[in-house]
């Protein structure tokens, strides 16, 4: 019986090209993933046949467009096992989603004396919004430490950090630099005991593994479409309905109001309350199609595939002289970050690019984590459904040439 995995690379048009004369080896999936033809075609088809502004419109195209948009909301609710579609708010992406929670929930609920608990491995997008709201409200930031190069959260510190002053605990599901898979359900359960609201950054996890918000037990969860084979510019904030309906609007405009007078307005319930202005309905529709694509492959299978590539890459890279690998050696998400003793990450990326390999080098929006580990940058290879073990061989061969070049003479 044929499997959708058999000819998976044929689903992704962008893979079939050469870069600097070499076949493209795309290993920058944690930054953004490539799109299958079904998603690209869905987007064109939508613009060619159904495009019209959503809601309010009474004509045929507007109704089709609204159905596509609201259908995507339902599809995404099912994708993460939300209780109802109204718990899905469309945003521009993970960063936008976290800023929404920080401004709206944080602005209304935090006060001096309160604490916000974060972890040392957070991406800047799950760090700077909390700094901003802390400055506005007088709440203080606390950080759950990372143990070291093995990249685990130091859970032994949780008892004395997660106290009743903590009103909100925000943490990543999978670290974009360390590849650590955090015990999110346990963290949510611990937060619940002190009455803290939880915010999970699922940018690196939702397209790579099964995800069920009811099993995780989180209050909010955010992710981006473009890292899960969907379009750029569309993302999701999941929030428990009771919390969302008690939150003030974030941005004002059309679509989010019930009634407007010259000096005051009343607002719709969620999700419309948080979707001011014309929403990004075309990309939302295509994100629903991306969910179909991923579920057809099977998310347990995707997790197995990406995890196997990451562990294989970790083992092969560990053989290189002078390499420092960060993150857990065993169970990990589908990426590997490394630093070469004598070659800076940007030189690694430039050399690899000449071999057709797309890597990322830098601080990966993790400056506090880098400082903690005594690094200024790492190079990162991140994997997705279309990557192969042979591509890891190409990467290792390229890195050996780089080491020889910088080590010689």
């Amino acid at each position: 019986m044929s499997s959708p995995w058999d000819r998976i690379r044929e689903d992704f048009p962008v893979l079939h090209q050469t870069v600097n004369g070499k076949p493209l080896v795309y290993l920058d999936n944690a930054a953004t993933a490539q799109k299958p033809k079904t998603v690209i075609d869905a987007l064109s088809r939508f613009y060619e046949t159904d495009n019209a502004n959503v809601h309010r419109g009474l004509h045929a195209l507007s109704m089709r467009s609204t159905d596509a948009y609201e259908g995507a909301r339902s599809r995404i609710a099912r994708f993460i096992h939300a209780a109802e579609p109204e718990e899905i708010i469309f945003t521009r992406g993970t960063t936008d989603s976290i800023n929404l929670v920080a401004s709206s929930w944080g602005g209304a609920n935090l006060k001096p004396g309160d604490a916000i608990l974060l972890t040392e491995m957070e991406h800047h997008s799950n760090l700077v919004p909390w700094q901003l709201v802390a400055q506005k409200t007088g709440a203080k930031l606390r950080y759950l430490p990372v143990t070291g190069d093995d990249g685990l959260l130091d859970l032994s510190q949780l008892d004395h950090l997660l106290t009743t002053e903590v009103k909100l605990f925000a943490f990543t599901h999978i670290s974009n630099t360390l590849a650590t898979i955090n015990p999110v359900a346990e963290l949510c359960a611990r937060a619940k005991k002190v009455g803290a609201v939880t915010v999970v950054d699922a940018a690196q996890s939702v397209g790579h593994m099964p995800l069920d918000v009811s099993e995780i037990g989180c209050d909010f969860l955010s992710f981006s479409g473009h890292k899960m084979a969907g379009p750029t510019g569309i993302g999701v904030l999941y929030g428990r309905k009771a919390l969302l309906d008690a939150m003030p609007p974030w941005q004002g405009g059309g679509g989010m109001i019930a009634n407007v007078d010259l000096f005051s307005s009343t607002y719709k319930p969620s999700p419309e309350r948080f979707e001011a202005g014309t929403p990004n309905f075309a990309d939302a529709y295509a994100l629903g199609v991306a969910c179909d694509y991923l579920d057809n492959l099977g998310r347990p299978e995707i997790q197995r595939h990406d995890g196997e590539l990451a562990r294989r890459a970790y083992a092969r890279l560990a053989e290189l002289p002078g390499i420092r690998l960060i993150g857990p050696p065993g169970e990990r998400g589908g990426l590997v970050s490394f630093a070469l003793r004598d070659v800076h990450a940007h030189d690694v990326v430039t050399f690899a690019d000449q071999d057709g390999i797309a890597l990322r080098g830098g601080h990966h929006c993790n400056q506090p984590l880098m400082k903690k580990l005594g690094l200024t940058s790492t190079a990162r290879a991140s994997f997705y459904v279309y990557n192969t073990p042979e591509e890891i061989d190409v990467l290792v061969a390229s890195l050996r040439r780089i080491l020889k070049f910088f080590g010689g003479a």
């Binding site: 600097n20 004369g21 070659v343 800076h344 990450a345 940007h346 030189d347 430039t350 050399f351 000449q354 830098g362 601080h363 400056q367 880098m370 200024t376 940058s377 040439r401 070049f405 910088f406 003479a409």
Partner: protein, 151 residues
């Protein structure tokens, strides 16, 4: 190894990267400036001891890619003993080399950076140390950043 790469990483650059000149804090400095490249995380401090209008001594500290470190190192050797105006003229020549790829008529180690022009994303690596040095010459306390300066 592609020819573009060997042009980018010429021996002069590899040598300065491996054995940076004038690296470390300069205890006698009377001017200091910091440069950073926020997207890369590259950092560069430049220390100057000015005697009148002349750069009597110079050093740099920093971390970054081979291009940025070699460029800062070579920059210190080129501007030491020069006046502020001469240093600015050298930067003008250097900038022309890294953006156009044209080598200067006079023989100069700066020509080693001509390969950078084929890698536009790396031009700001090559100019980081120079930006910091020029800011130190102007006595500006604010960090130089490659994001706000034109390369």
């Amino acid at each position: 190894m592609s020819s573009d790469l060997t042009e980018l990483y010429q021996q002069v650059i590899l040598d300065h990267n491996r054995r940076p000149r004038n690296k470390g804090r300069l205890p006698t400095a009377n001017r200091v400036a910091h440069g950073d490249n926020p997207t890369c995380g590259d950092q560069c401090h430049v220390y100057l001891r000015m005697e009148g209008d002349r750069i009597a001594d110079i050093s740099f500290e920093g971390s970054g890619c081979a291009i940025s470190q070699a460029s800062a190192s070579l920059m210190t050797t080129q501007v030491k003993g020069k006046t502020a105006a001469e240093a600015e003229e050298l930067y003008r020549q250097f900038h022309e080399i890294v953006t156009s790829g044209k080598e200067p008529e006079e023989i100069s180690d700066l020509a080693a950076f001509s390969g950078v022009h084929a890698f536009p994303a790396r031009i700001k690596c090559a100019t980081l140390g120079w930006h910091a040095a020029l800011n130190a010459l102007k006595g500006e306390a604010a960090p130089a950043t490659t994001e706000t300066h034109s390369d």
